[in-house]
Each structure stands twice: as structure tokens, then as C-alpha cells.
């Protein structure tokens, strides 16, 4: 394909790029912009963080086709007219840099945070760079450096855009280039779709062999590890805006399935009505993954640990499935049929999540993980209570996130004992051992979370 990019204000045209070549390789190998680093290749370490179309992003999880026609800022672009950005100067003297390998990623994440009006609050700073790992500094001096930069950074409007990029494009021809690796050697086929209809036709044509590249935060690592069985993928960058709106009417809230978790956590409608979803959105991966990953992707992935699903179940969310000529709605609580099995038909995709507005007495979402950011949960529990109607939903304790229907029946009964609660809980879920924890720990923790939740609810 022909790849057109504006990088650090410079226009590039690159011919003959493989569709699934990683943007990271384009930057590092084709354009020799080696400031963007590769630490893991799976979207976990944050060393390859860049800004693409004013959004923070991981270059190792971005394919050429997704990046086409975008504007990119890398570490090399922070210096302007031979002058370092204040945050670079401050990092130089604050001790925020040791080995320096994570530094470009941290600087880009911090720059993006400050540029978008981020505050000096330490916890907000931590959240904004939670997708970046450092093994040298202990983080303290990085936080100090970002705080200190807060008042000194000034940002021009649209500073990376067209102004400079009017200049003639640098042309690179890779057509005859042999050494061009891409994300996998089993050569998956990636198409770019421009309309909803094209997407539906694509899904219809390839059926179970088809996948959608939206955030791509799960699919690309899975392809690279050789675990992805599907062969055909549709890049939906071009139709993303149609399907990522978050709107409301008197009755409902409508969340476009391609809304990212970052969109969700900052959206005023969600913040007002669906607080637990905000909560869940903030715990998915690190901040960079939240800026890329979509809620539809999280649902469609079908992982037992899909963080947003318990939070959606307690609001009794409905999902809208769109196909070429029709739409249907289905309750999320009946969408999952088994491990990674869903009630989705050939040619359908998740287009929207619909949630009825309600006033709750209480809602909550709790997660237990192996650390406080960038984790896959060991147990999660969400609840909502409206009048007499209680919903409990749990993640990571069964083949898919599910409502605890048996527990709901007896949960608020006065004479309930912890043993009886465990008995009912065992009817709902039988947690398993895996790489992250044991079934026993999961069951006991979930029981404890439920028991303390019950005590709190009974007080209300």
C-alpha cells in the first residue's frame, strides 16, 4: 500500500508498505526515527508511545493501514527549532531519566497529558502515565518532573499540523525492499473499510475467519504470538467516528461500540449516569490502552476478565448488533454462551450499547488485580440496587463475566449466613486456577467482597 503520514510536521509518502507492517517498524526502520523504542512488542511496556491524530497511542499495536493519512508526533518532534520543550529540560535535571529507554514514552505520555489540560494532581499524573513502565527510577522523580513542567509548557494550537507539512513530501519506495517484516508471518489479510455496508459485507463474506481491528490492543499481540486463528481483518479507522458517539435521550444512553475507554471515562453523560463504567474504564490496561481499546472490542473479545462487562451488566445494558440490512438488540446478560462464545451471527457486528437511565440506591465496582495498574483482574464484582432490584455481576471467576443470579435471590435476606452465601455463590460460579491466581483465592475473595458489600447495603 501507499502510506501517507505527517510525522513531526514533515510529510512522508511511502510506497509498497505491507498493510500489517507495524507503525513502529515504519518509524524505526523505514524512516530511521529510532527514538521510539520497542520494549515488549505487545502493548504492555509503553516504550513505543506516540501521539497520532492528537491521541496517545502505542506504535507496536498500530498497523500501517490504521496509521494511514494520520499526523504523528514522536520524541524527535518535541524539540522545536533547536530548542527543547520545557519538559525535556526539566526531565534532564530532575532525575526523571536514568537508562533512558522508557524516557521517550514517558515524555510523550506526559506531553500529551499536559497539552490536554492535565492537572498537577499526583494521582491524575500517575493515571496519565500508567501505561508506561520504568524499572530504574522508582517513578518518584518522573512524577516530580511532570508536575514541575505543568506551568512551564505552552502549546501552540495545531502545532504539528499542516503549517509545516505543506513542504514537499519525503518519498520512500519500499516496493523492492526485501527486508520488510510485518506483524506475522502467516500473513493475515487486512482491509480498510470505508462504510458500514462494506464492513457488513466483509463480515458476511469471511464469517468466523473475520475480525475487526478497532483498538486492536488484543488482536495484534495475539497475531504476533501465533494465537490468532482468524485470517481476515477489517480496519475500521474510517468509520470509527460514526460508531463512537456517546449520546442520550430522555430514556436512554447510547454508547457507540467504537468509543474508547478514554472517551468513556471523560464523557459527561457517562460520568453523570454510569459512574461504575467510568471506574471500570480507568482500570483497563494502562492509560495508553484505554486510549486505544474500544468498549465494543472488550465485549466482543469475550474474555472472562473483560473489565467493562460486569460494569455494563449492572446497568442491564443492551447491545445493538448491526448487519447489512437489519439491526437487532440483545441483553448483554444473555449475549455470552460460553468461553469466547457469543450470540453473534455471521455478518453482524456490535454497533452500540444502550443503557436505560435509572436512579439507583447504590452502585459499585471493585476489582482485585496483581497490581494497581496494567493488570488483568483476578476477581471483579459490580453491583447496582434500585428499589428492590439488585444486580450482582462478577468477572474472572467463570468462562465469561456474568450475573450472580443465584446469589441475587438471597443476598439481602436478613438471616443469611456467610456459609449459605458461599453455597449460592457456588451455584453461580466455580472459579479456576490460572497463571494469575487460584480458584480458591478467587472464590474466597469474591465471597468476602460480597459479604462486605452486603453489610454496607443493609446499612442503607
Amino acid at each position: 500500500m501507499r502510506l501517507e503520514l505527517v510525522i513531526n510536521g514533515q510529510r512522508y509518502t511511502i510506497d509498497g508498505v505491507l498493510e500489517d507492517r507495524r507503525l513502529l517498524d515504519v518509524l524505526r526502520e523505514d524512516l530511521h526515527l529510532t527514538g521510539t523504542k520497542e520494549g515488549c512488542g505487545e502493548g504492555e511496556c509503553g516504550a513505543c508511545t506516540i501521539i497520532m491524530n492528537n491521541e496517545i497511542r502505542l506504535a507496536c499495536l498500530t498497523t500501517a493501514i490504521q496509521a494511514n493519512n494520520s499526523e504523528i508526533l514522536t520524541i524527535e518532534g518535541l524539540e522545536k527549532d533547536g530548542k527543547l520543550a520545557p519538559i525535556q529540560e526539566i526531565f534532564m535535571r530532575s532525575g526523571a531519566v536514568q537508562c533512558g529507554f522508557c524516557t521517550p514514552g514517558f515524555l510523550i505520555s506526559a506531553y500529551h497529558y499536559l497539552k490536554n489540560g492535565g492537572s498537577k494532581d499526583v494521582d491524575s499524573i500517575r493515571h496519565a502515565v500508567s501505561g508506561n513502565f520504568c524499572r530504574c527510577t522508582g517513578y518518584s522523580k518522573i512524577i516530580d518532573g511532570i508536575q514541575e513542567s505543568h506551568d512551564l509548557m505552552s502549546f501552540e494550537k495545531n502545532e504539528n499540523s499542516s503549517k509545516n507539512s505543506e513542504k514537499e513530501a519525503t518519498f520512500i519506495d519500499l516496493t523492492t525492499e526485501k527486508k520488510q517484516n510485518s506483524i506475522n508471518s502467516n500473513k493475515k489479510n487486512i482491509f480498510s473499510v470505508s462504510t458500514k455496508e462494506e464492513l457488513c459485507e466483509f463480515l458476511k463474506k469471511y464469517g468466523s475467519e473475520a475480525g475487526i481491528l478497532a483498538g486492536a490492543t488484543d488482536i495484534i499481540p495475539s497475531i504476533r504470538k501465533g494465537g490468532e486463528k482468524r485470517l481476515y481483518f477489517a480496519d475500521v479507522s474510517k468509520i470509527k467516528s460514526q460508531f463512537s458517539e456517546i449520546v442520550e435521550d430522555d430514556k436512554n444512553i447510547y454508547i457507540g461500540a467504537m468509543a474508547t475507554f478514554k472517551d468513556i471515562q471523560h464523557n459527561p453523560i457517562i460520568k453523570k449516569h454510569l459512574f461504575e463504567l467510568v471506574h471500570a474504564a480507568k482500570t483497563i490496561g494502562g492509560y495508553t490502552i484505554q486510549a486505544m481499546g474500544t468498549i465494543g472490542g472488550n465485549i466482543a473479545n469475550g474474555s472472562p476478565a473483560a473489565d467493562s462487562v460486569p460494569a455494563l451488566l449492572i446497568y442491564d445494558a443492551t447491545i445493538e448488533l448491526t448487519s447489512l440490512n437489519s439491526k437487532r438488540e440483545i441483553k448483554l446478560s444473555s449475549f455470552y454462551l460460553g468461553y469466547k462464545k457469543m450470540d453473534i451471527m455471521r455478518g453482524e457486528f456490535i454497533s452500540k450499547i444502550v443503557i436505560e437511565k435509572k436512579q439507583f440506591i447504590s452502585t459499585g465496582f471493585e476489582e482485585v488485580g496483581s497490581r494497581k495498574a496494567v493488570f488483568i483482574s483476578k476477581v471483579s464484582l459490580a453491583h447496582s440496587l434500585k428499589d428492590e432490584e439488585l444486580i450482582l455481576a462478577a468477572g474472572s471467576v467463570s468462562a465469561f463475566p456474568k450475573r450472580l443470579l443465584e446469589v441475587e435471590k438471597i443476598f439481602l435476606k436478613q438471616d443469611l449466613t456467610k456459609d449459605t452465601l458461599l453455597e449460592y455463590l457456588s451455584k453461580d460460579v466455580i472459579p479456576l486456577d490460572d497463571i494469575r491466581s487460584t480458584g480458591e483465592y478467587r472464590q474466597k475473595t469474591l465471597l468476602n467482597l460480597l459479604w462486605s458489600l452486603r453489610e454496607n447495603l443493609l446499612k442503607k
Binding site: E44, G138, N181
Partner: protein, 734 residues
């Protein structure tokens, strides 16, 4: 004495390149044409190699293939004990063990090539993965599965325990710990005629040179090793580049082009060196006044499948195992066992974090059992000035353990903190807070007579323009060594900092000032440099910067430059007996204490770090920001070791080989830290400085364990202190 440059927060010498993205790490080096190299590793844990079969139908014309038969010299990895083959020929002892190498100009084709190679191994389904399995001799990798034993003895433990009023024994375990530098191992190699050049991410260029010389039967002059920017190492790039460098050089020999080898993260975690797992049986005897009279320990390290450098790690672990206490009767047995896992190697702390976990956890356990405060118990037993360690090392003015302890209690205002914690605990139904300390130390420089044997040489080169180049083989891997060494030279020469610069770390340009390990760079190499500076000042008598350039010009005459070298001089008082393990194990020690406040959720048993306070004596602080950065970074690694980090096995191989499941602390896990220093200058360190790099790794795990003990009254003996383990112990003790 007031210093000008030492003690100042000068700008790091390497930092501008790092904040702009200009710094070239190994993978950033992109020659016009080069090969990507990859390793073909064993796909079983244990077995006998029968052959490697290349698919005859595949086009191999553009590939370079190397196996053991291509090695011109010795097929071995140069180490303390060179028992590991560079490429396996027969016996397979661990999953991923290197067997052959393959390279191609196209990464994609290289992957295809790897798929078309079949390794034939007669698998042995029986293997041992842990210390206990190894000791059970379920499978014997080497005779009795024992690589080495060592002993430290003092007094008489039998009568010690007989006369003790209290005796407590327990067994402590620690797991593998992965260094998890953000830049994976990476090397590029090429040949220039008969000369082999290796450039890469490494801590010890002269180790890599020794390795290449052995593998290729080459002389010093024909092996040029160059350090690239290093994206973190922590010990993980101390010994492994000796393997990777030789691999790349072998491929380059046949490719006639540069060969670059960059490990993917999963591969890096799966096969490179880690911190040794340990099993420590510890027995302490106290008299009626709670005086620690007797200590018996069996300290067992899992060396992995080859011994390599494990013996020196065992030594350091044992020589820190007795803690900062005066103990008359001591017996410490150290053992290294073999398992079917990749050879373990260096990681910050080098054996000491393992033994301190046992000793400093056990002290609190004994205090709990005797019904006395762990603070009081330490006060009774701290080694004093004029006291001695079990090796017989007399500790004179060096001892600062009581001082750091007193300072910590003052900083945390312990009585107030105690009340706050107790009040919180009496009010909360679902949370418990606790505070724990660990007192510890770290000996700087090589153990025993190691520095004498190393006989490091460092130097400076005076250039015509008056600038001075620092000539050392010690690498900058983030710790700030190049900045600190430049400061020492500037101070010693009384020149402005910006007149000092670092020569490239290249074995053809700098002398062998020893490896960048063992907290030795500032203290040992810095002092050698300072003395080299004295030589220059003896040769050129300048009074001030004003007459400096004139005097330099007079001195150099027509010469472009002049170098001044100095060899390490062992301080006169240090005496060590390698055979009996008696004497001065280290020239000096840095002393430290951590106080950690934690909160445990009684539903999930997750531990939240609330406060971390550190007080240390590291002698003169050369660069306050870099020093506190070293400590903070080390604290966070030790918190990872305490709470999260663990290698999980599946079918004998490492399972959690990624950032998602090998859990290092994130920025959200770490509270603001209070790091402070007391300054007790060391007379044989440059301007009074001591080594600091490894010290902060030693105390985190026991401090957290003791805080959990304080919060819940439970006694844990196994790292990591996971919620699963805490839940089990809490329910058991209820």
C-alpha cells in the same frame, strides 16, 4: 572538606541524547546491510540432543547457519566456572538452551527459516525445577546436584544453643526474580579482517572480550568490544552478553556482514539469567536478656543448570546473612544446587536480598515469639563500633547501623505513627495497617580479595585543549556512573565539570577498570581515577584555571595528549582468607534501614504501600539527585520482589514471560518515598564516597514482611508476599 563538583547536582552527561531520542541503543544501530540473528533453542527441559535437521525442501541459500562445529576455539561460556557450553552438542539441561544459530537479512525470512528447522532431542521426562526437587535427587544433573559448598564459622553453635534461653527455627524461600530492564538484551557484531567487533547492551565489556577470546582463540588486539547505550541492566547484562556476543560474532564470521541479535521480551525472560531462588533454614538462639548468641543457617541457592558465576553470589549472600548484629556463635553453610532451569546470574544485591529476607524476617518473628518489640530486639543486638562480624572482620568507625536506625525512628515519629496505626485498626472492619522495618547493609566492591585479583586500571587523558577524558571500562546503564566519575575527576583536578568528558567505552580505547558490578564503580574505580588525577597534578603543577591551559601546553609540547593511569591499591587494613572465609570480606559497608507502612484489605488481602522511609549511610554523596534516584529505583525493585515478582513454571519452563503476568510495580503502586542520607565518609573512597548501587535492593522484602506481621500478626516465610499466601496464613492463624 568542602567540595565544589562532588556533592553538586550537575547535569547528567548522557541525558540530552536520552530526552531527544538521539541516543543510539543497540537496536537503533542500523547498518546499510546486515543480518538479523536468532537462536535455535531446546524445545524440551531435559534430554539428549540427537541432531538438527534443516528441511531439505526449503531454500537455505541466503541464510547463515551456525552450530557448535563452527566454533573455532572453545565451546564454552567464560565465567567464574566455565561449565556451560556456548552451543549444546549433547546434553540438554533446560528449555531454550542454545543449540544452533540462524541469520538472514530479512526478519520475516528468518522466522520462516526457524520454522523449517527441526531439533531432534531424546527427551528425558524427569527434571527438577526447584531447590527441594533438586535436593530430593529425583533427577541427578550433576553428582548429588551440588555445584559448591562454603562455610562461615565462629565460636561454637552447639554450646550456644545449649545455653540459649530461646531458640527459634524456620525455613524461608525466595523465587526467581527477573531484572526486567525495559531494553531487552541486544548485540551487534561484525568482523574487520581478523578483528571481531562486538557492540551492544552490556555491563562488562572486558567480560565479553574474555568470552570472545575463548570462543575464537583470539588475542586482545583482535577483539574490540564497544558499549552502546544500555537500557537498564541491574545485573542482567553482566554475564549474558558474554553468550549473546559470542553468538552474534559466530554468525558474523560466516555472514561476512554485521549481525544483529535483539531478543524479544518473551525470549529474554525465558532464557536469560535471573536472581537465584533460595531456601534458607535459620535458627537463632537468644539468652535471657534477648541477646542473640547463636545463629545457624543453611543458605541454599538454585544455580540453575550450570554453575557459571553462582559461587560468588553464594559468597556475597552468606557474607550478608548474619545481618547487622554482633553474634558470638555462628555457622552458615552455603550450598548451590543444580536445577533444569536457565543458569541464574547477577541481579542487584547478588545473593544478599535472599539472605536478608530470611534474617530480617526471622528477627521480627523471634521478637514476636519472645514478646518483645522488634525495635528493642535490634537495639540490643546491633553490631557496635569496635565490634565484629562473624568472619572476624573488625568494624571500627565504619558502623552506622544505630545511627540510621535512630534517624528513621525520629523521621517517622514512631510513637505518633504507632498510635495512628492502632487507632485506624480499631476503627476499620475491612482494613489493617502495619509498620515494619528492616536493617541491613551492603559491602561495596568485589568480595574478599576480588579487587586485588581484578587489579583494575583506570586513567585520564589530558588533551591539548586542556580537556580531560575519563578512561574507564565501566558502563553507564542508567545509574549515572559516567556523571559521577566525571565529577570525581573534575573535583580531583579542580577543573570545571564541562572540561571533563567520557572516552567511548571500548576495549581498544580504555583500560580494564573491571566490570560494572558489585557497587564498585564509584568507590573503587572512582578512587583509582582520583589517584590518576593526583599523578597528573604531580606532573603538571597548576594553581588555578588561569594558568592551567598554559601549563598544559608547556607540558604537552608537541604531543597531542598524555594519559595517566593508575592501578587499584588495596587499602592496607583489608586482609582476607579465601580458604577459611575469615577476615575483611569488604573494605567497607554502606548501612541502611527501611521503614514501610502498609495497609492490607481483609477481603482480598491485597497489600497497599502507604509510606516508605529510607535512611542510609553511603559516605559522601557525590550527586544527591542521582543517589536518591538509585535508592528510589532500588526500593521499587525491592517492593516488586516483596509483593509481586515471581517466575511461574509450566511443564518445567517459565510461563509468565511477559509484562502482563510477570508483575513489576507500576507508577500507581508506589507512594512518595522519603529518602535521606547520613554522611560518614569512607577514607579509601573518592572524597569519602561508598558504593550504593545494590544496597537498596536488600531491605524491601523483609520490611514489607515485617509490616504485614505487624498488621495481621501472621508470619510469612515465602516471597512474593502474595494476597493468596496472606489469605491462607491469616485464615490458618485465626
Amino acid at each position: 572538606m568542602k567540595h565544589k563538583v562532588v556533592g553538586a547536582n550537575v547535569t547528567r552527561v548522557d541525558v540530552k541524547e536520552k530526552v531527544t531520542g538521539a541516543a543510539k541503543y543497540t537496536d537503533d544501530i542500523q547498518p546499510d546491510s546486515f543480518y538479523w540473528g536468532a537462536q535455535i533453542g531446546s524445545n524440551v527441559v531435559s534430554g539428549v540432543l540427537k541432531g538438527v535437521i534443516k528441511n531439505p525442501d526449503f531454500d537455505w541459500s541466503d541464510f547463515v547457519y551456525v552450530d557448535a562445529s563452527d566454533i573455532p576455539g572453545e565451546n564454552e561460556v567464560e565465567s567464574v566456572v566455565s561449565d556451560m557450553p556456548l552451543l549444546a552438542t549433547k546434553e540438554i539441561r533446560y528449555w531454550g538452551q542454545p543449540i544452533a544459530l540462524l541469520a538472514h537479512r530479512d526478519k520475516h525470512q528468518l522466522e520462516e527459516g526457524l520454522k523449517n528447522i527441526k531439533i531432534e532431542i531424546e527427551e528425558n521426562p524427569i527434571y527438577v525445577s526447584t531447590i527441594d526437587e533438586s535436593l530430593s535427587l529425583k533427577k541427578e544433573i550433576i553428582p548429588q546436584n551440588i555445584f559448591k559448598k562454603r562455610k562461615i564459622e565462629r565460636g561454637d553453635i552447639e554450646s550456644g544453643f545449649e545455653n540459649a534461653k530461646y531458640v527459634f527455627e524456620d525455613i524461608y524461600y525466595t523465587p526467581h526474580q527477573e531484572q526486567m530492564y525495559i531494553e531487552p538484551n541486544a548485540i551487534i557484531s561484525w568482523w574487520e579482517g581478523e578483528k571481531i567487533v562486538v557492540k551492544g547492551s552490556m555491563q562488562c565489556p572486558y567480560y565479553v572480550q574474555a568470552s570472545i577470546k575463548t570462543v575464537f582463540h583470539k588475542e586482545d588486539k583482535d577483539v574490540e568490544i564497544i558499549q552502546a547505550y544500555v537500557g537498564g541492566a541491574f545485573g542482567g547484562k553482566e554475564d549474558y552478553p558474554s553468550i549473546l556476543g559470542a553468538h552474534a560474532a559466530l554468525l558474523a564470521m560466516k555472514a561476512n556482514e554485521p549481525v544483529k541479535m535483539v531478543y524479544e521480551r518473551a525470549q529474554d525472560i525465558s532464557i536469560t539469567t535471573k536472581r537465584h531462588p533460595s531456601k534458607t533454614t535459620i535458627k537463632m538462639g537468644f539468652d535471657e536478656n534477648h541477646k542473640l548468641t547463636t545463629l545457624q543457617m543453611e543458605f541454599i541457592l538454585d544455580g540453575g543448570s550450570y554453575e557459571t558465576m553462582s559461587s560468588v553470589i553464594l559468597a556475597r549472600g552468606m557474607l550478608h546473612a548474619f545481618g547487622p548484629y554482633e553474634i558470638p556463635n555462628v555457622k552458615i553453610d552455603g550450598i548451590i544446587v543444580a536445577t533444569n532451569t536457565p543458569p541464574n546470574g547477577a541481579f542487584r544485591g547478588f545473593g544478599a536480598p535472599q539472605s536478608f529476607f530470611a534474617t530480617e524476617s526471622h528477627i521480627d518473628y523471634c521478637a514476636l515469639k519472645m514478646g518483645i518489640s522488634p525495635f528493642k530486639l535490634r537495639e540490643i543486638n546491633f553490631v557496635q563500633r569496635g565490634g565484629s562480624f562473624p568472619t572476624g572482620q573488625l568494624l571500627e568507625n565504619d558502623v552506622m547501623i544505630r545511627e540510621v536506625y535512630d534517624e528513621l525512628l525520629k523521621r517517622v515519629n514512631y510513637p505518633v505513627l504507632r498510635k495512628e496505626i492502632d487507632d485506624f485498626n480499631s476503627l476499620s472492619n475491612t482494613k489493617r495497617r502495619g509498620f515494619g522495618i528492616a536493617t541491613f547493609f551492603h559491602g561495596a566492591g568485589f568480595t574478599g580479595s576480588g579487587e586485588v585479583r581484578l587489579a583494575s586500571i583506570a586513567g585520564i587523558r589530558l588533551d591539548k585543549n586542556g580537556k580531560v577524558a575519563v578512561l574507564v571500562a565501566n558502563t553507564e546503564m542508567g545509574q549515572g556512573a559516567h556523571t559521577v566519575l566525571s565529577q570525581i575527576v573534575a573535583e580531583a583536578l579542580e577543573l570545571p565539570f564541562d572540561m571533563i568528558y567520557m572516552e567511548e567505552v571500548n576495549t581498544q580505547k580504555v583500560p580494564n577498570s573491571g566490570p560494572t558490578v558489585a557497587s564498585r564503580t564509584t568507590m573503587i574505580v572512582g578512587e583509582v581515577l582520583r589517584r590518576a588525577c593526583v599523578k597528573m597534578r604531580d606532573a603538571i603543577k597548576y594553581n588555578s584555571l588561569d594558568d592551567y591551559l598554559e601549563k598544559v601546553s608547556q607540558y604537552l609540547g608537541d604531543k597531542e595528549s598524555e594519559s595517566f593511569f593508575q592501578q587499584h591499591l588495596q587499602p592496607p587494613k583489608i586482609k582476607w582468607d579465601d580458604v577459611n572465609y575469615r577476615g575483611d570480606a569488604y573494605g567497607t559497608y554502606a548501612w541502611a534501614i527501611y521503614g514501610v507502612e502498609i495497609e492490607v484489605d481483609l477481603r482480598s488481602f491485597e497489600v497497599t504501600l502507604k509510606n516508605i522511609i529510607s535512611v542510609m549511610d553511603i559516605g559522601e554523596v557525590v550527586h544527591p539527585i542521582l543517589a536518591s534516584g538509585q535508592i528510589e529505583g532500588g526500593i521499587v525493585q525491592s517492593m516488586g520482589y516483596a509483593l509481586y515478582e515471581n517466575i511461574i513454571f509450566k511443564n518445567g519452563r517459565f510461563w509468565n514471560a511477559d509484562f502482563t503476568n510477570y508483575i513489576i510495580p507500576s507508577i500507581v503502586d508506589i507512594p512518595k518515598m522519603d529518602v535521606s542520607f547520613l554522611n560518614n565518609p569512607y577514607s579509601y573512597g573518592p572524597f569519602g564516597a561508598k558504593g550504593i548501587g545494590e544496597l537498596p535492593m536488600n531491605g524491601g522484602a523483609p520490611a514489607v514482611n515485617n509490616a504485614i506481621k505487624d498488621a495481621l500478626g501472621i508470619h510469612l516465610t515465602k516471597l512474593p508476599l502474595s494476597p493468596e499466601q496472606i489469605m491462607e496464613a491469616y485464615e490458618r492463624d485465626l
